[in-house]
């Protein structure tokens, strides 16, 4: 029997248990991606049932289908353009009235709808009884009872969906919202006019008439696209009717219609629901008495955040080390298996080192996403936004931006991915743009070396000042961008505080793994290419004739040592051995320095030295900063190589070498400011691109580097004017 394909879309309010139902239906066979062109998560799963191949698409959770948020546009466009065979609308039984608001809008869309009355047990326990048969009859929609977190009703749900899809009856056109006389008249006239003028239109004409009266921009555009000539006539008529209604009601027709939809719903509620409750009498309120308490709310919040930070970066440190050891082992094995040469260098220094630098973030990312999934699934995320909104609103951001920004102090990669929890795209982009100014942990070694060498006892204060500068600049950036680049309506903070729920292990794990998998796959590719490029720049050209014959010199040193050894006794021998080793190491370092000078990265460094000169940074500093693009830790090791301070030596040695090379406290400060602010590392850049777009990534790179240069310039030049050196 050939299998038949059906597409089933899941719609519903946020917190209606939609994701749980989706996880139950599809298990772990999910595909997570983004909806085309936007960064709204798209989840799809496949199930085989009764000889049908079912594709289940999880639409973004929304309260409505107006075209104001990207989630709603995405959900609506899917229903309109992809025409799923059946739409399952998850109705939260304990929030029947609000769930039905979305349901009535889906009903207006002319598609086959099935209601999953979810969590009726919760509603029942709160003294609410719902007459499902009546609801089904009143709206002419099949209703299935489900309890998502106990996996009840899932088979029946799919069964009914298949039956509905296969039934010959078209989507029921009756029992939809009936508006008041004046509005119905306007809808009727517009509908008739449309059918007369344009003939066939891509969507249900009644629905289009309603949307045009609501002044829906996307429907207007689509009308013009479908019928360019007739469309403009229709729009004129729609505009006239809109104005007429606005005058008649002394109110925006959109608002009137929203009101009337709720009126229609209120009528249904009266018939199907036996009791309404005004207060949440459950455990949730009691939890909130503590968690959002006037005095205890913040300390508890800070504790949770601290715990998340500790888990992510302290507990995560152990597996990070194991992975690091694994990567070292691998590069050792590859190194041993291959002959010395370009291929070995490419694999060991380029591929393994580069990809290894990303893989080692995996434990941090897994733990962080587990914590975030825990916050989201329990309902605490909404509370943290509730607590923090006052502060974040000062920067023009939403309360939920706080967590990504804070995570930035650890590592920007998970921090930027944590910005996914923000619903508004503008908030998300703004958060992503300012998060890199939170000084990440990889930058700390750079500060430690520089501040340690040049500021002695005041090193701690200087480093604290650097961190503070990052915070201040992120606030300023937030404020400036909010009023210029990312202007527009501040997303209203109308947010539901859902009841606390016991998280389900399966859902947490799916959540955590999906996001981590995305990170691994996408990052891996970018990082691979990026590390190979940087490796190539620092290892080519290879044919530059060295100024000295290093091999011969090494030979001479060992030969001299050998001859001395022959005549020396025990303690003398050890001294000679040590001296020889030191001499060979020095020589190798000099060779490496010379190679780096001649490599492309060295040439670039010297070529752009004039750019860094006004900041008091020499060409070695410039090269170190460029190589820091791969990972910020590398700044220190590159400085070490270029200043021939030795890689294995302690930080003190590098500091001494820098002082010897003529670096001053002022130029060290300038360099620290630059490191704090300049372009994010390769992994962060890649994640910015993934979460936003290439354009925003380039903007972020350009903006942060410009700010870095500007601030370092101000620090250095003003410092000089004030007589510091």
């Amino acid at each position: 029997m050939p299998t038949k394909r059906l597409v089933i879309a899941l719609a519903g309010n946020p917190n209606s248990g939609k994701t749980t139902v989706f996880n139950n239906l599809t298990g772990t066979r999910q595909k997570v991606g983004n909806w085309p062109g936007v960064t709204v998560e798209k989840k799809e799963g496949h199930v085989s049932r009764n000889g049908y191949d079912l594709t289940i698409v999880d639409l973004p959770g929304t309260y409505s289908l107006t075209p104001f948020s990207i989630e709603e546009v995405v959900a609506r466009n899917f229903l309109l353009d992809e025409r799923p065979d059946v739409v399952i609308d998850i109705i939260d039984a304990s929030n029947l009235e609000r769930s039905l608001y979305l349901a009535t809008q889906i009903r207006e869309l002319d598609c086959k709808v099935l209601f999953a009355l979810n969590m009726a047990d919760v509603a029942g326990s709160r003294g609410m009884k719902i007459d499902a048969a009546k609801l089904s009859e009143l709206l002419n929609v099949p209703v299935v009872f489900t309890v998502g977190n106990r996996r009840e009703g899932m088979d029946n749900l799919l069964q009914q969906a298949i039956e509905l899809a296969e039934s010959a009856t078209p989507a029921a056109r009756t029992r939809r919202v009936k508006y008041s006389h004046d509005i119905e008249e306007a809808i009727g006239r517009l509908k008739q006019f449309m059918e007369m003028k344009a003939g066939r239109l891509p969507y249900d004409t009644r629905w289009m008439a309603i949307k045009l009266l609501e002044d829906d921009k996307i429907v207007k555009e689509r009308l013009i696209a479908a019928a360019p000539e007739a469309g403009s006539h229709i729009l004129q008529t729609a505009q006239r009717l809109h104005t007429h209604l606005a005058q008649r009601f002394d109110e925006d027709p959109q608002i009137v219609m929203t009101d009337e939809r709720y009126g229609f719903i209120a009528g249904i509620i009266r018939e199907v629901q036996s009791a309404t409750i005004q207060q949440r009498v459950d455990i949730s309120r009691n939890i909130d008495l503590v968690l959002t308490h006037r005095l205890f709310g913040f300390p508890i919040f800070i504790f949770f955040i601290w715990a998340m930070f500790q888990l992510t970066f302290t507990l995560g440190e152990y597996p990070v080390q194991w992975i690091g050891a694994g990567v070292d082992g691998l590069s050792g094995a590859v190194g041993a298996a291959l002959p010395e040469g370009i291929l070995r260098s490419l694999l060991v220094d380029g591929v393994v080192a580069g990809v290894g630098s990303v893989i080692k973030f995996l434990p941090n990312i897994l733990i962080l996403f587990f914590c975030i999934a825990l916050f989201e699934d329990t309902g605490y995320m909404a509370r943290s936004a509730f607590l923090m909104d006052r502060i974040m609103h000062l920067i023009g951001l939403h309360g939920k931006s706080f967590i990504p920004m804070l995570m930035g102090f650890g590592c920007n990669v998970p921090a930027i991915m944590a910005a996914r929890t923000l619903e508004s795209e503008k908030d998300r982009i703004l958060t992503i743009l300012i998060t890199p100014f939170m000084s990440c942990s990889a930058k700390l070694p750079v500060y430690v070396v520089l501040a340690g060498a040049f500021f002695g006892a005041r090193a701690g204060t200087v480093i604290f000042g650097i961190y503070l500068l990052g915070v201040v600049l992120s606030i300023l950036t937030g404020r400036i961008f909010r009023s210029t680049l990312l202007k527009g309506a501040d997303a209203p903070f109308v947010m539901e505080l859902p009841p606390y729920r016991m998280p389900m292990a399966k859902s947490l794990l799916i959540h955590m793994w999906d996001r981590s998998k995305l990170f691994l796959l996408k990052m891996g590719q970018v990082i691979l290419v990026g590390s190979i490029v940087i490796w190539g720049l620092s290892n080519f050209p290879r044919d530059v004739a060295p100024s000295r014959d290093y091999a011969a010199e090494t030979g001479r040193i060992t030969a001299t040592a050998d001859s001395q050894m022959a005549t020396a006794d025990g303690s003398e021998r050890r001294r000679i051995e040590e001296q020889t080793e030191q001499a060979v190491r020095d020589l190798r370092r000099e060779q490496k320095t010379e190679q780096t000078r001649h490599s492309y990265i060295g040439r670039i460094g010297r070529f752009i030295a004039p750019v860094f000169a006004p900041l008091g940074i020499d060409w070695q500093g410039g090269v170190a900063l460029i190589s820091g693009f791969v990972a910020k830790e590398i700044v220190v090791s590159t400085l070490g190589v270029l200043h021939a301070a030795g890689e294995s030596d302690e930080e003190g040695a590098l500091g001494q070498a820098l002082i010897a090379a003529g670096m001053t406290p002022l130029s060290a400060l300038s360099m620290m400011v630059f490191v704090l602010l300049y372009l994010p590392c390769l992994a962060t850049t890649a994640v910015i691109r993934r979460e936003t777009s290439t354009r925003w990534m380039l903007f972020s790179i350009g903006y942060s580097t410009a700010v870095a240069w500007g601030m370092a310039f101000v620090v250095y030049q003003i410092g000089r004017l004030l007589g510091f050196s």
Binding site: R98, T258, R280, A382, P492
Partner: protein, 75 residues
């Protein structure tokens, strides 16, 4: 009276919702309509935003947003 002027624990009936169109629609979509009873559950520790109970579920609103909502019959 404005919704933002209510104290913790007080209830009132919504009379009118003002403000710009997007905000108004969001508020309406969450079920805060004319004639609906709302209760101020609490204010956040920094006095903004506020938590409301509407029809049995909990919604938070910024105080400036609540200042667009006219209420009567405060209890």
């Amino acid at each position: 009276m404005l919704l933002s002027e209510l104290k913790e624990g007080q209830s009132a009936t919504v009379v009118r919702i003002g403000g710009e169109s997007l905000l108004r629609r969001r508020i309406l979509e969450m079920g805060i309509l004319k004639g609906v009873e709302v209760r101020v559950e609490k204010y956040a520790p920094l006095k903004d935003p506020m938590e409301l109970v509407v029809k049995g579920y909990h919604v938070s609103l910024r105080v400036e947003e609540a200042a667009r909502i006219l209420v009567e019959n405060v209890r």
